[in-house]
């Protein structure tokens, strides 16, 4: 039987949030009586992730992504349910689990702030007890792929965001972990560095069979790195499937963008009523969503042009981003 990389059953996490009334009066009252409100951040999650899978774990802020990742990493203790990472309970056997995982937590550095990058790596080698020649091989490879050479002698605190993130990524993979958690690794980076980072994750994961869990708000990351998407909303999984399946599901969705001549108003042709949906937008253009299967682009354009004074129009094939937005709205269940 092949072992699962990550197995999660009925995972629940609640937070106790202290409530207090606004203002000075509230602050003083809070000194004497404390009211708590229970917020359920994760409401019963099941996951089975195979070794070597690259999973995009997405959802709005506060959906429970980071909470789940922290429980998978052993930093937070679940209130109910079980987590196993290659058979290890991350919270009960935290140190054992720590050896087999790597992580990049968006804004927080795991490098050593005051010492140069090279020495940070050396220290990590000691901490993870990596054999010297294996380490040398890995570092040489990473330096080339992430273009770290000019950064090695710079103290971490002097690195720019993009430089730092490349070093963070290298640090997370240095000990050849079996599972890597990447919590928003591309946030705030420019396109070039994003590309470098995505290519790096793909290449390493292919070479070592590393399982990758990636949370991000950048759908391009998901599209280019992941082969599976899990969507989380308000603590529950609302979608879990291959990325191709997701694309096919919404493959026929199109948007028609129309710009009218100045002064003219838009009339929706009666022939297309019910087949298109006018999207609310802040832009000048009029946007109509339609399904390619129900009405062809050509037919819709003909109808529109007949009834309106059209200056310009274009058909847009939705990107990942739109697919996901659609998911939240319709809530296709897994």
């Amino acid at each position: 039987m092949s072992q699962l990389a990550i197995e999660v059953k009925g995972l629940v996490k609640q937070y106790k949030i202290m409530e207090r009334d606004a203002g000075l009066k509230g602050a003083i009252k809070a000194l004497f009586t404390r009211k708590y409100r229970i917020k359920e951040a994760v409401k019963g999650i099941d996951l089975s992730i195979m070794p070597g899978e690259r999973v995009g774990y997405i959802g709005f802020n506060g959906a429970g992504k980071s909470t789940t990742i922290k429980m998978l990493a052993g930093v937070l203790r679940p209130d109910a349910g079980s987590v196993h990472v290659y058979g290890v309970d991350p919270h009960e056997e935290r140190v054992k689990n720590a050896r087999q995982i790597g992580a990049v937590f968006g804004q927080r550095t795991q490098l050593f702030w005051d010492i140069p990058v090279r020495e940070s790596f050396d220290l990590l080698r000691e901490i993870y007890e990596v054999p010297r020649d294996e380490f040398q091989e890995t570092v040489t490879w990473f330096i080339e792929r992430l273009q770290l050479d000019p950064l090695l002698d710079v103290p971490v605190r002097q690195l720019s965001l993009g430089q730092k993130m490349r070093c963070e990524l290298a640090a997370a993979f240095l000990h050849r972990p079996r599972v890597v958690y990447l919590d928003e690794p591309t946030i705030g980076l420019d396109i070039d560095i994003k590309e470098t980072i995505r290519a790096f994750i793909r290449e390493i994961s292919d070479a070592w069979g590393t399982t990758v869990i990636l949370t991000t708000h950048d759908m391009q990351d998901i599209e280019e790195v992941c082969d599976r998407v899990i969507v989380l909303d308000e603590g529950r999984i609302i979608y879990d499937d291959r990325i191709e399946t997701l694309k096919q599901t919404f493959n026929n969705e199109r948007t028609l963008e129309i710009t009218l001549d100045e002064g003219s108003t838009f009339t929706l042709p009666p022939a297309v009523t019910g087949l298109v949906m006018r999207l609310e937008t802040e832009e000048e253009t009029i946007q109509l969503a339609f399904n390619h299967h129900e009405i062809s682009s050509g037919q819709l354009i003909r109808e529109i042009v007949n009834c309106n004074q059209v200056k310009d129009l274009s058909v847009v094939v939705p990107k990942m981003e739109a697919l996901i937005r659609n998911l939240y709205k319709t809530g296709v269940s897994a």
């Binding site: 980071s66 203790r77 935290r94 995982i101 050593f112 000691e126 901490i127």
Partner: protein, 264 residues
Amino acid sequence: MKLRKYIALAVSQIKVDMAYAAWYWASMFSVTMRLFILYFFWQAVYENKTEVSGIALSTMLTYAVLATMLDQFRGSAGRELAHLIKHGGVAIELLRPYHLLDKLLAQDLGAKTSTFFRATLPLLVIAMLFIGVDPPTSIEAASAFAVSVVLAVLLATLIDLLVGVLSFYTVNVWGLSVLQEAVITIMSGALVPLTLFPDWFQTISLYLPFASLVYVPVAIYTGEITASGIWPSILIQLGWVAAFFIFVRLLFAYAVRKVTVFGG
């Protein structure tokens, strides 16, 4: 326990300390000033006396110098831990294959090693040249002093870590750590020998761990704690170190189970 990684952490801390030259000179300057203030203070106290509570001026100055030196080893492991907890960095630390308390202890001992060579030794030379430090009363006292200092330094770190662990519960330990500073400064004997305090105060401090931090080692050196008292005093120190070591670990283990990691 793999000792290698902890040694690597300690060494790395020494390198970090080397990087902050301005801070180093500032602290050297402030300790030198403190030494001279003590010198003039005791000169004034002894103006028309040959001894105070049976302690001669040269012994008192020796005590003051050594106590000031030892007081530099209070440690910052607890502050570091509190900072990690408050700013959420503890999440990253818990992802690593080491015991966080051991890591902090290793770093703290690294920091103290560099303090010893870079600050304590040169200051001791200054003190010997300009203030006068008596030699230890006997070889036995000297070796007992060395053992006692190591225990005192360990205990200081552990007490500090205890306050740090408490910030899992209170988030902001600033108030607690100010209190800790004040209590230690007075009750450890860092300012004046505990024998100068009233009897009731000495009795209380007998049952508290703070005397083990400064008073015990320095009084062993100056001979205030005489031969027969040396080993019982060291045993008491050892007891406190063991007690704090176990207590801090238990509290930490409990906190990690309970706690919410902030942020994100």
